[in-house]
Structures are given as C-alpha cells and as structure tokens.
Symmetry: C2
Subunit: 120 residues, 2 copies
C-alpha cells in the first residue's frame, strides 16, 4: 500500500509527535510536524536522517554551523552528535532511523514520546 | 551538509543508475532516474523503500495488484517479493535499503550496477 505524505501529515494532530509511516530492515520511517524549538539531545547509537517535505528546518549543532534545510533537502545527523531542530513556521519532516529510537534521545522531557504511534 | 534532491538528480546522467546520496546505520539512501521497464527481480534479504520525488512510478508485483506511486508517495517492497519498477515518463525516486543491495537483486543483467556510485 502506498503512503501519501500529504495525507499522512494531515492525520497528525500535534507538533513534535512523530508517527511511524513505514518499517523496513529494522528501521523506521517517521513523520513529524515541527514548530518552535525542540530539546537539545543526541542519539548515542543511531544516525538520524531528516528530510524536509514542506517548510524550512534549522538543525542547530554544538560545534558546527547550523544546517538549514528547505523542502526537498535532507541531512543525516550522525550518532552521538548533539542537535536541536528548530522551525519558525510549521515544518513537515520525514525521519529515518532505527526502530525504537527515542525522539528526545538522551534527554527526557515532556516531549518524550514513550509509546510509539503508527499511521495505519 | 545538506543534500538537495533536485540538484542531486540533475547530476545523474543515466537512467537506472542509482547513486548513493547518504549513508546511515548501515543503510543507503540512493537516488535514481527511472524510465521504461526495469528487470523483474527480488532482494532476498532486503526490504526496499521507493519514495517518488518527481513523476509517476508503477511497481508491478507477481501476485498482487500494481502499486501506483506519484510524487510525494512511498511504498516498501518486502524482502523476497519479486517486483518490476516501470515508469512511462522519467521518474525520480529515492530508495532506502541496506548498504550493498544490488539494484537487480537476484538477477544479473546489463543494468546490474556492480560498483557503487556516490554523489559527492
């Protein structure tokens, strides 16, 4: 079955609430609507791909210049690299990462999504 | 560094010639320009994700209805499932699959890309 990204994003109600859209080879494709500043965090054992489907995303890094992504652009944050996603206006991103990766990585906050949500 | 999909596709000269655009967690993000009918094949140990960036793609399956994908849509072909990608007009797709996955899977043809190409 095909997943239509526009349709799928429209079925997500909240910001910073990733939903699994597909699973393959132990990896998850997640969709998330972002707006505002997320927590600084890192994933010790997981590289994380950000692909911007709509809008603009800044990925702040501690020791490197910000990564600026527009629609149709992607970037991989390597495991262990602290980062902070920031979107001034709503931004719709596709994430690719190992199944079980926590959205806030090494940090626990009120935004931590413990129970995985799926788009079915 | 950000990868811009439009720019990256424009740097690929040939059809059916996947280029690695990013690597993460042992997986590859590959970009390919497709046109025409590809070989029927399967990947015994690898699920394969097709995301259409531009154009229309049909994924023919032996025992199930065709999967029709337009820009902004994705589908995962599970490991072991024989499939044939077909694009009447040029279609630009992003593939997610384990590093080392052969484009023609279990089949060897003149389209088999043995040496991995990278977009650098």
């Amino acid at each position: 079955m095909a997943v239509d990204l526009d349709d799928a994003f429209d079925r997500i109600d909240d910001f910073w609430d990733p939903h699994v859209a597909a699973e393959l080879n132990g990896q998850h494709v997640k969709l998330a609507r972002l707006k505002g500043e997320f927590d600084w965090h890192r994933h010790d054992d997981a590289d994380e791909l950000f692909y911007v489907h709509e809008g603009d995303l800044t990925i702040r890094l501690r020791d490197d210049p910000d990564i600026e992504l527009s629609a149709g652009q992607l970037h991989v944050v390597p495991a262990g690299v602290e980062h902070q996603p920031v979107a001034e206006e709503e931004c719709r991103v596709l994430l690719f990462e190992p199944a079980g990766t926590l959205n806030t990585g090494n940090v626990e906050s009120e935004r931590t999504v413990v129970e995985e949500k799926r788009l079915d």
